[in-house]
């Protein structure tokens, strides 16, 4: 379980996170929903120490990760995976090397075992082995996102974080990504934490939802508990939500 208490973060004079409290139970898909500019990306990056918060605590199963040394945290990172908004595939490596990098650096595996893992991951995300020899620049946005999910999957993480996983994708690819998030959760029984502005994605995958507004959580509950009025308030608009 991830327990967040009083997390604050400012950039210059602007306070982006204003004291967030949140509990993320194990084996759930927690969607943190909010419109652009509310601090979603900053928040999810503080959860994995890509951004250090100014105050507060973040505990994974009771271990406060902010009190860990960089070295301790690096060891802990083996249990988490992060899917970035722009996929963040290493553009100097082909897809095979992108997928096998973690295994090569951290696992004692034979080349055959590594090949099997890579092949299994790429098949899982619905791509063929022919993609393995391509470089990220040769792939479409949807394919890159799927490779990024395969790269996260290969770590067999306990926690998997997604930053705006459907942003910039057409409807077909966005739906495919939603399916993959659900399939991956079932495959590796990971706790998934997703930040998004995409209400449809929330509706498709969320077990629990937290609404982020002006740097703080304004609501937590199940997706069924969110009223249209709440979403209207969150997005400062009216109507068009089909819950």
């Amino acid at each position: 379980m991830i327990t967040v208490r009083g997390v604050r973060k400012s950039f210059d004079d602007k306070e982006v996170l204003t004291g967030i409290d949140l509990d993320i139970p194990d084996n759930t898909t927690m969607v943190i929903l909010g419109p652009s500019g509310q601090g979603k990306t900053v928040f999810i990056k503080t959860l994995v120490r890509l951004i250090e918060p100014d105050a507060g605590s973040i505990a994974y199963d009771g271990d406060d990760i902010l009190r860990m040394s960089r070295r301790e945290w690096q060891a802990y990172q083996n249990s988490i995976a992060f899917v970035f908004q722009n996929s963040a595939l290493f553009d100097f490596l082909d897809v095979r090397e992108n997928l096998s990098l973690f295994l090569r650096m951290h696992k004692k595996m034979t080349p055959f075992q590594m090949y099997s893992e890579v092949s299994r991951a790429i098949t899982f995300v619905g791509l063929g082995d022919d993609v393995l020899d391509k470089f990220p620049e040769e792939l479409s946005g949807g394919m890159r996102k799927r490779v990024a999910i395969a790269r996260a999957m290969i770590k067999r993480p306990k926690y998997i974080f997604y930053d705006e996983p459907t942003t910039g994708l057409d409807q077909n690819n966005a739906e495919k990504v939603s399916e993959l998030i659900l399939m991956l959760k079932n495959e590796i029984a990971a706790t998934s934490i997703i930040v998004t502005h995409d209400i449809k994605l929330m509706r498709d995958v969320a077990d629990r939802v937290a609404l982020l507004r002006e740097g703080n959580i304004s609501f937590t509950g199940t997706k069924e508990e969110i009223s249209a009025e709440t979403l209207d308030f969150l997005y400062e608009t009216r109507g068009e939500y089909d819950l």
């Binding site: 890509l50 083996n78 992060f82 970035f84 908004q85 963040a88 595939l89 553009d91 990098l101 650096m105």
Partner: protein, 263 residues
Amino acid sequence: MARKPSEHFFEQLGERSISFFTTVYEIATLFMQTVRALPSLWFYRRQFLEQLYAFSVKTLPIAAVIAIFIGLGATVQSTYQSSELLTRAVLVNVIFKTTILELCPIVLSLVLAGKLGASLAAEIGSMKISEQVEALETMSLDPIGFLVVPRVVAGLLMLPVITIFANFLAIFSSFFVSAVATEWISPAEFGSGLEMDFKVFEMYFGNLIKPAVYGFLIALMGSYFGLKTSGGAKGVGAASTNAVVVSAVFIVIFDYYLGKLLL
């Protein structure tokens, strides 16, 4: 109320001073982090081998062209300025030492600061703005160990190798133009000019010490400005420019102090 121009001046001066000392502090911090991460070089050996290749094979053609023309240029200038006061062998000795100790190391390093420093900063800068550096961290890989250490050590080791190669070519081209093409000096006299007042330490200084320091500076500055990149393509351009300019400034400053301290 409008502020006095002097207030504006002091405000800017203060801001620039803070920015300058912050940059110096950050470069010193990156240096310390790089030193601490040195033991991880074996872990990131594949990246290291790639950087050795980038710092050597990819730079040899340009190093060869520069070295040949340094040798030719230095010889033509020196013979033009020769007088009855100096024997030709002494003049060859002056050309030899100037080339080995100063011309080849510094000209080559400045050119490679442009080529390698800019490319390092752009490469790491692009990775930074596309979140690839953060992706390394989430894969339990240390960005300093993965990106900076292999480049810095490759720079430190390969610039001396390239400089030795360049010095050899420069002296050979000098021999060619003075003893073969123009017959201004006989091969035997040229040889005695090279042997005159020969000091082994000077060879270490020009071929190893200076280039190693410059290679280190080029890689460290390229890495620093790459890791500091923000703001998209414009930021990558600025990082490349800053890496080249700051490396070049450091190289000429170190050139003076190394000579003063060690010779």
